[in-house]
Amino acid sequence: MPGFDTLTATWMVGDGPAPETRGVVLEQTRELDKFLAEIERRAFRMAQVSLRDPDDAMDVVQDAMLKLVRNYATRPSAEWRPLFYRILENGVRDLQRRRSVRKRFMTWLPGPKEDPDNEAQDPLDNVADAGPAVPEALMQAQAMQKLEASLRDLPARQREAFMLRNFEGLDVAETATAMGCSEGSVKTHYSRAVHTLREQLGEVW
């Protein structure tokens, strides 16, 4: 697979635009690369929290990257983050909708029921209860698992607001752009999410 330098070097050879145009495009590509590299892991984890399945999360992130680059690369870089997350959240919702339809369809069919969320096979479910000998990393993993479970129990809009504001660090206006709603709605969703999570996790933590 070509590295970024190889990739960008192809801009500089052969027939192409004027050198000034090439320079602008090259700079834009570098900025996009930097931006995507900076957010891709968090975006993947956020998609995974919502979808559970890592392959689905990967697909949604990849699709969001492509759509951002194809449709919004020329927009000011300050707009990329909320736009990217808007695409990502739309992708997550579309996938959840498709899953829901598939699940409904599968219930009509005879035979073993599908378990698209793979709920019965989460390896962390089989981990022994935390005792004094449990390593720190495992405790962290268990705490994160509880957080993820609680996040998944939240209504989708509350979960989106919480993850975008708290995990990704978007401000209220950026979150509103990403969620396609008003700033007031973001505040309401976020406040309700925090309240619910605190009730569910407060004592555990």
Binding site: P2, M58, V69, L147, N166, G202, W205
Partner: protein, 134 residues
């Protein structure tokens, strides 16, 4: 600061730290797939940009050809003081004839026959034109 606010802050900080740790624990194959996805997106951008660059010269050349054609047609058909007005009626008729010949039954044969007899018709036309009127 109220106890509720303190609890909320603690929840936010704790959940953020846990999330960040989980991001850092992402395994290498997944990181690699993310990098590949990023490069795929950037390559798509490259292709889009190249198409954009190609489109402009193509549009320019297409526009130039169209303009030249329009100018040429204007000079040919509508040029002021032209001494040889185009035989529009004749041309139209000839086209119509050709169309009739081609569209009738055995059109291909008719066209072939027309081509074979072209010399004859040229001679007949010349002969008729040179005969003294009675």
């Amino acid at each position: 600061m109220s106890e509720e606010t303190v609890d909320s802050r603690r929840l936010e900080e704790r959940s953020r730290a846990l999330f960040q740790e989980s991001v850092e624990r992402i395994d290498m194959p997944t990181r690699s797939r993310l990098t590949q996805a990023r490069y795929a997106a950037l390559r798509a951008a490259e292709r889009t940009a190249r198409t954009g660059w190609l489109r402009l010269p193509l549009l320019t050349s297409a526009g130039g050809v169209t303009a030249a054609a329009v100018l040429g047609a204007a000079l040919w058909f509508g040029g002021a003081g032209s001494h040889h007005p185009p035989p529009v009626a004749d041309s139209a008729a000839a086209l119509e004839d050709l169309d009739l010949v081609a569209s009738s039954d055995g059109g291909a044969d008719n066209v072939e026959m027309l081509q074979d007899d072209l010399d004859f018709y040229a001679w007949a036309d010349k002969t008729a034109g040179s005969e003294p009127s009675a």
